[in-house]
Structures are given as C-alpha cells and as structure tokens.
Amino acid sequence: MSYVRGLKCRECGQNYPEKGVHVCETCFGPLEVQYDYAAMRGKVTRESIEAGPRNLWRYRDLLPIHGEPKSGLHSGLTPLKRARNLEKVLGVRELYIKDDAANYPTWSYKERVVSVAITKAIELGYDTVGCASTGNLANSVAAHAAEAGLRAFVMIPHDLEQGKVLGSLIFNPTMVRIQGNYDDVNRLCSEIADKYRWAIVNVNLRPFYTEGAKTFGFEIAEQMGWQLPKHTVCPTAGGTILPKIYKGYRELIDLGIVADNQPRIYSAQAAGCNPVVEAIRAGRDLIKPQKPKTIAKSIAIGNPADGFYVVQAVKESGGWGEDATDTEIVDAIKLLARTEGTWTEPAGGTTLAATIKLIESGRIPRDESICVCITGNGLKTVEVVVDQLEPPASIPPSLEAFDALMAGRESVDPAPASV
C-alpha cells in the first residue's frame, strides 16, 4: 500500500497531483512529496521494515511509489562501519562510516535517488530518462535505465575527461557533449527539460528523486540497531542528501521507530566552493552563488538548488557547517584509506576533513556518536591522489636486495603503531 498523497509547494503550500513537475506554478518554489503519516502509525514499524527486501526498497512505505519497484533491486544496504581505528586517531568515543562507495551498481549514493526516480518515471509513463551530469549521476542514470529498458539521455560539458565519460558510456545511453561554459550548459539543460517530455531525474522528477536520499538515513538508523547518531556529517553539493537524511531521521522519530536523541546534522563543503557553509557561518538563509575552484568537483556546485533547505535543516537540528581546503581533503582521503580501508572520492575526503575540524573546534563533542557520510568511490577520481602517494620501491629479483630494502626501511620506519 502507498501512503503518498501528492505534491506540495514548500514555499506557498499549494497542492499538486503526482506528475513530472518540480516547481510551483505560482511562486516557483520547489515541490515536495506528501505522505499520510497518520495512516502509517502502527503499520510502518521496525518489524515491517525488517521483513522487507535486502535493498533500499525495504523502506518503500516511506518512498513515493505506488506499484512494485522497477529499479535499484540490488542497491542500498551499504556498509555502516564502526571506525575503531579512526576513533583512536581522532580521539573520539564512537565513530561510524556510512559507506556508499560500495553502493551497487555504479558506486555512489546516487543509486538511491536514481532508483526512486526511474521507478517513478515508469509509473508516470515516461519511456526516456535523462540528466545533466559530470560523473556519478550520469553513471547511475545510464546503468539503471539500461536495466529498466528505458532510453537514457546524458548531457555533459564538452570538455569532460574521457575517464568520466566511459563510466556512463559503457551502459549505452545517448550522450551529448554540450559546448560552452558551465552556465551555457546549465541553461540549455533547463531548456531541454522544458521542451522535451522526458523524465530528467534531477529536474522534473526532482520531488521524487530527492526522496530516495532518505534511505541513506534510514539505513544508518537501522544498522545502528534502530538508534540515531547524535552527529551526522554530510557533504553538500546540490543540497539533496543532507535535508533528506534529516527528514528521514525525523520521520523515524515521528513514527516512534527510533527515540528522539535530537540528532544534529552538519554540512561539509570544499573551501573552494562553500556557498552553504558561508551562509551558515554568516547566519544567512540566502545563498550567495560562487564560482567553484576545488579538486572536489563532485560537490562543486556554486548555487545549489536546495542550498536554502540545507541551511534550514542544519539550523533546525543545531548543527553547523565546515569546509576543507584541497590539501585537507586529500589528507583525509588518505587517512580514511589507511585507517579503515575505505577509498573515497574528494566528496568523502571533504566530509571527513570537515568532521575532524568540527571535532577539533569542539562543535562535535568527542564522547558522542558521530556518523560520517561517504557518498562516492575513490576509484573514480584517481587523479586526485596519483601524485600524492609514495611510489613503490623497485628492486632486483634477489632476496639480498629485499633484505637490504627491509633493513633500510626499519632504520627509518619504526614498528607500526597499534592502529
């Protein structure tokens, strides 16, 4: 059974039926899915969720679909790791890594939003889906569309590196390189979304698409034994995931599925593109657009569509915002890899680096539970660390040479620390 009751403008409250529309015709505010929470009470429970499939659709009662899921049947339920090694390094009591670098099939949190969007696209009768993306979103749309038998259009900037293109092209979408600068590409994508009757997942299906991000928060709660971390640190790009994790937490609290520990949520951005963190620090609700300049390209969005709602969620929860320089981002990527065996892209490095700064500044107490949201896989961004790692030693094929190497290393490398 579905508990969806249509769409509603977040600004003026006007109601809309479920269709491929994303902004209010009156005030141009964003639309959001409405649910009948009263009808869920006593029916949507820990037990009902645990009886669901071993994928993100175990939370389908809290997602905006009516029929059976059509996409993402192997997505979600990614590892939540107790990061004991990192706890020791950072001097904190309880630290978790929610690791969507392991999300199937294209290794990012986008599987969550795209699974919901593709299922909704089919429900609404679309035969073509699309997106404008430079990486993870394009990969995910192309892969899920291929499996669902939909046509996929992927719009990309003309100068995107070949490596980034391949991760989508392998799934055989129609890919269009658009000439011009970022603003030109962005404007054209808006016009395409307006003119063609396609399901552009992060545009006209945005109200449904963003709901998929709640599953990131639902999984954290369930995997912690139906508890919420006190502090959740999350990267901010377009502003989709952070407000939806928080919304997911509030839904679980309001339905009595978890206790209300007054969870706080924190936004992490790169210092070279920090419009949301800058607004939080300045005590403003309004976002000043920026021109990005950072290696964390996957979160470099100068005027995030949902930036305002990130600020709102952070303020309402009592959280904060923190940014990280490119050097701090790379250092955090390496730290996470060597302590926890998780290789994340710069978005994850940003989140961990911001977490460290929030701990060091006392914004996050060392004795309370902390969850760091890792949203993408480092294998997609090797260029960020390729010149930052010590090259391997090269020796002739003899035991003597190896022994000499070990002797040399031991003289400079004491026994490894316990971590």
């Binding site: 600004e11 994303h22 902004v23 009156t26 005030c27 141009f28 505010g29 986008k110 997106c131 404008a132 993306s133 430079t134 990486g135 993870n136 979103l137 719009m155 900037p157 970022y182 603003d183 590409v185 962005n186 404007r187 994508c189 808006s190 979304a193 552009i200 992060n202 545009v203 945005r206 790009a237 377009g238 403003r284 609700d285 309004l286 000043k288 657009p289 390209k297 996957s298 979160i299 969005i301 100068g302 005027n303 995030p304 569509a305 930036g307 978005a347 993408g376």
Partner: protein, 84 residues
Amino acid sequence: MAKVQKRVWLTFGNRSLVEKPILWRMARAHPDVSFDIRQASVTAEIGIMAVLFEGEADDVCQALKFLTSAGLTVEPIEKNMIES
C-alpha cells in the same frame, strides 16, 4: 515570432547591487519584455528573486543579458542542475 516565457532566479549578490534600481532600468531598456516577480527575499547584503519574463525570444534574451551585465546572477529556476 512566438512569445516565450523564462523562469529565472536573479541574485543581487552584494549591497551595491541591492541598492540599485536594476529591474527598473531593464524595463526602460527593454519595454517589450514583461516581468512578474513571484517570490523575493531581500536583505541589505543580498537579494534573490524568482521572476517570470515574457516576450519575443530575442527580446527576453537581450533583457537577461542586460541583467547579467549589470552584475546580477541570472540562473534557470532549477539553479545549478549539472550534478556530479
């Protein structure tokens, strides 16, 4: 030519821009383009507006260029839609 409609966000990114009558100047320079403010939030330091522009395609394009050259950030109603 057919009339077109454009829904955009205008950002007045600093106090100097907030305090200038830029929309009035645009209207004087492009009298055949109508504009309808649907949502606005303005402080001393920053202002944002959701605005519907309507007119001949070329006129609307020129009006938006006028606003950009005056220092406003002009973006589609979706803001930045190119995600990673």
